[in-house]
Amino acid sequence: MSSSKESFNQISPSEFFYRNRDLAGFSNPTRSLYTAVREFVENALDACDQAGILPDVYLSIKAVDDEQADPKPYVLTVKDNGPGIDSKHIPLAFGTVLYGSKFGLKQARGMFGLGATMAILYGQITTNKPVAVKSSTDGQNQDEYELLLDIQKNKPIIVKHNTKEISKRGLSVSICLEGDYSKAGSKIRDYVYQTSLITPYATITFEDPKGEKFHQTKIVKTMPPAPTIIRPHPHGIDVETIRRMMVDSHFQIPTVDNKMIEKVRKELGLKKKNLNHSQIMEKASKRWPNLSRHVRVVIAVMSFLKMDFEKLSKIRIDDMDIANKKLVYWDFGESKSVSVDLDPESEYYRQLTNTVQGETLLSFLTKRFQRIGQATAVKFTEFANFKPEKRIGTMTNQELVKLSDSLQKFEDFLSPDPSCLAPLGEEPLKKGMAQFFKPDFLEVVQRGASAYSGFPFIVEMGIAYGGEIKSVGQTVYRFANRIPLLYDEGSDVVLKVVNEIDWTRYKVKNDAPLVIVSHICSTRIPYKTVGKENVADRPEIERELRLALQFLARKLATFMSKRGQAEMEKKRANLYSKYIPLVAQFCTELAGKKKEPDYKKMLKMEAMVEE
């Protein structure tokens, strides 16, 4: 049955994303142009935020050929005044997929910097032009790269590299991609406008293909406090996360590749020399106190394998079965799997078991999670029915599931630490809204931190009424982690909360010119769809949104009733000054008098009484 034989080739991450690019928002020229703008602008803002620099972001979209009809190639350039990227990291950062620095748990606009690479990949696919990256980390020298991506190998191809002297720090990325500005334009303009609204500490400039310029100078001059990277909350994890955390804890069998062998040789002082197995063991026991942890593990493995470096480089360690005291490896030379017994009497046995079994549950809980101290950890192990000294490496799959479930169910953990969140703050939000909408009434509120399923979140909301707002009815601007949400608003939890409020209770007519700005900050926004445009209605989030909106609506109601009174006064005064003189005129003639009665003092008195 040779015809049905399939070949299972590994594909590189670049290849994977190339094949699944519509998942990341690059499904068609319209959507792709919009997504690319978002990814680059958000990266620029994130970079500045993290470096504590007030962002100055310049965005430009220019058609390669003005005459051509859409869709057509555009050059998209995003320039920032952020920290820049070290020259040596640039090829990897922009020329491979899955290279990034945003792996910690804290609030940021994007994750992992993946989207930007996707945009570059999309640009390359559609126009076959390299990405141009210019970066300066010191404000004196600038590295300029032109890069292509080797999709099969997931490796950067440096087309051009040179450096020159400049006077400004920051990063500029420029790609050529196929887009449809005639269709994507309004969304991109909305995006830039709303991003300026939620980032009042940033200066944002946008030049579009028609030469129109949007420019918003920063309204506030202070950065909101930066979020800190924190450990995960026990309520917010699942089995897969625990597994990754265990790997992350370095308690694992190192991969014995050439690089590792080099390291072992170096630490043993055997860089050039080839020794046999027992000579190596002897050397190792002499140098033991100075050896690094990983090298010690490799030595322990070698002690059971009875191999020298030459032999070691031809195998792959597959399994360390402590329960059956067996070590399994794959021999490349012989092309077979070999099993070796582990002698528990050996001095290296303990080293291996410790490594394989990992740290104790107690240590794992207290060191790897937030909000778990020694006492809570002990209490939890009782609750979950685990021994505190149980080593996490010995846990079976079922036990891991039980651990994960118990972490979710245990109710004595303190609620998540919100220090990883970066809300905008009431003052900047208020100033931004004042500048944007110039309303008659404006109020903002930042709710206290709350949590859903172990993820902390904070709701910020602002309401503006009247003034230069000319809309009929409410306009709702939705933001999540300082990103505008532009699509799919119908099914969004914010819209749901806004629509459910009975405005007449707050003396607001349904067609009143009203702007509501809602900002949800969280380490994980519960988006409904992969498009990340609408927030799902988690009860905890819905409740916070509702409380925020009700608070603001009450403030608005107070304003409206005061204003209603004032308007009534004004109307009264207007009516009196319109009609009383007429009454005076008519009754003077009717009465046959020459002079009109002195009604002016009456109008004055009336005005005073009403004040």
């Binding site: 009609y579 009454v583 008519f586 003077t588 009665p597 002195d598």
Partner: protein
């Protein structure tokens, strides 16, 4: 020949008393304003609950409920101003002896930035002023579109500008004279007539003139053109009171005809605030329900609304006794009606030659 020299000044007197009334109202408001007070009118309420039937006056009148319309109240300020404007405007009309129609009033207001939204609103203010002054709008020289007329031996003397002192006899023109502002304000000088016949229909009015009913019966003939307008009712009243003429009414033989007669006799609920429009001694001489059978008149069936109207009128206090009650009952029994023209079945002059003399004879005993 009845020469009412005493009555010849009636029109002038009325005008003067009205002018005085208007001036008083103006002065009252002037003084209130001058004292720094918000002026106000007391407007008799015209709501249904305040309309009562006065048996002694034999007409509907307004009860004692009145509402204060104050310039202080924001929701009333506009209509207050409209009211005083109307008084001011009517005063000018009366002084200058000019007349205007309801429609005129609506348009004139716009020159004074008194914004009536529509004619019904201005009409309503006119009724308000009638109620405040207890005078019909015709006294204020405000007239509806006219369509009723009069014919017969009656000499009048005009008082309208350009015709002052000029006399006319109302038998000079065979189509009759329109009962308009000049006729309403004219002095009634003298007449040889001994009777007034009010008739519902223009067609019959013309027949009566042709058949010289005015001469044969020494009558002044008035065409009410359906429900008699105010000016017509006012003329009937003056003919009755100033010229001491009895008034008889001839209508179609249906429930509406009966009510036309009743309104001339004792007024309508709509005009309950006015007391000078009724002729309580007027007599309805036909066509009665009982006449339909008696004269074997061709009939047409009543409609549902005819029958409903009967039930409505049966609740009216004026229809609780005598012929008024009896005729309604017969109509209801017959469920058929007959028009005045029905007599033409027996010849065009049957109504004037036979029916009218018989009914006038009966009227004497009513």
């Amino acid at each position: 020949m009845k020469n009412k020299s005493k009555a010849s000044k009636t029109s002038e007197e009325r005008r003067e008393s009205l002018a005085k009334l208007l001036q008083e109202q103006g002065l009252k408001i002037y003084n209130e304003l001058d004292r720094g007070e918000f002026p106000k009118f007391s407007v008799p309420s015209r709501s249904v609950s305040n309309i009562v039937y006065d048996k002694k006056l034999r007409q509907y009148i307004l009860g004692n409920t009145a509402s204060i319309r104050s310039a202080r109240n924001m929701s009333q300020l506009r209509s207050f101003t409209q009211l005083i404007w109307l008084a001011f405007f009517a005063n000018k009309l009366v002084q200058e002896k000019k007349s205007s129609t309801l429609r005129d009033i609506y348009y004139s207001s716009q020159a004074f930035s008194i914004d009536f939204e529509d004619q019904p609103e201005s009409d309503n203010i006119i009724v308000d002023l009638e109620a405040v002054l207890a005078r019909p709008r015709e006294d204020l020289h405000i007239f509806p579109e006219e369509r009723s007329s009069v014919f017969g031996d009656l000499t009048i003397e005009y008082t309208v500008p350009g015709y002052e002192g000029k006399r006319t006899n109302l038998s000079d023109h065979p189509d009759g004279y329109l009962i308009g502002p000049s006729l309403s304000s004219a002095e009634l000088v003298d007449t040889n007539a001994e009777l007034v016949i009010a008739i519902e229909k223009g067609g019959l009015f013309t027949r009566f003139v042709e058949e010289k009913v005015d001469k044969k019966f020494k009558a002044i003939i008035v065409d009410t053109a359906g429900q008699a307008p105010r000016s017509t009712r006012y003329l009937l009243k003056r003919l009755h009171e100033e010229m001491s003429l009895p008034v008889v009414i001839l209508t179609d033989g249906d429930v509406y005809g009966e009510h036309i007669a009743m309104v001339i006799k004792s007024g309508s609920a709509n005009a309950a605030h006015l007391r000078e429009l009724t002729v309580p001694d007027a007599k309805w001489i036909g066509v009665w329900a009982t006449d339909i059978e008696k004269y074997k008149l061709p009939t047409i069936p009543m409609t549902e609304s005819d029958i409903k109207r009967i039930y409505d009128l049966q609740k009216d206090p004026r229809y609780q006794e005598g012929m008024w009650k009896k005729e309604l009952e017969v109509f209801l029994k017959l469920k058929r009606k007959a028009e005045l023209e029905a007599f033409s079945k027996y010849g065009l002059t049957n109504i004037t030659d036979k029916y009218l003399p018989e009914k006038l004879e009966i009227a004497k005993s009513l």
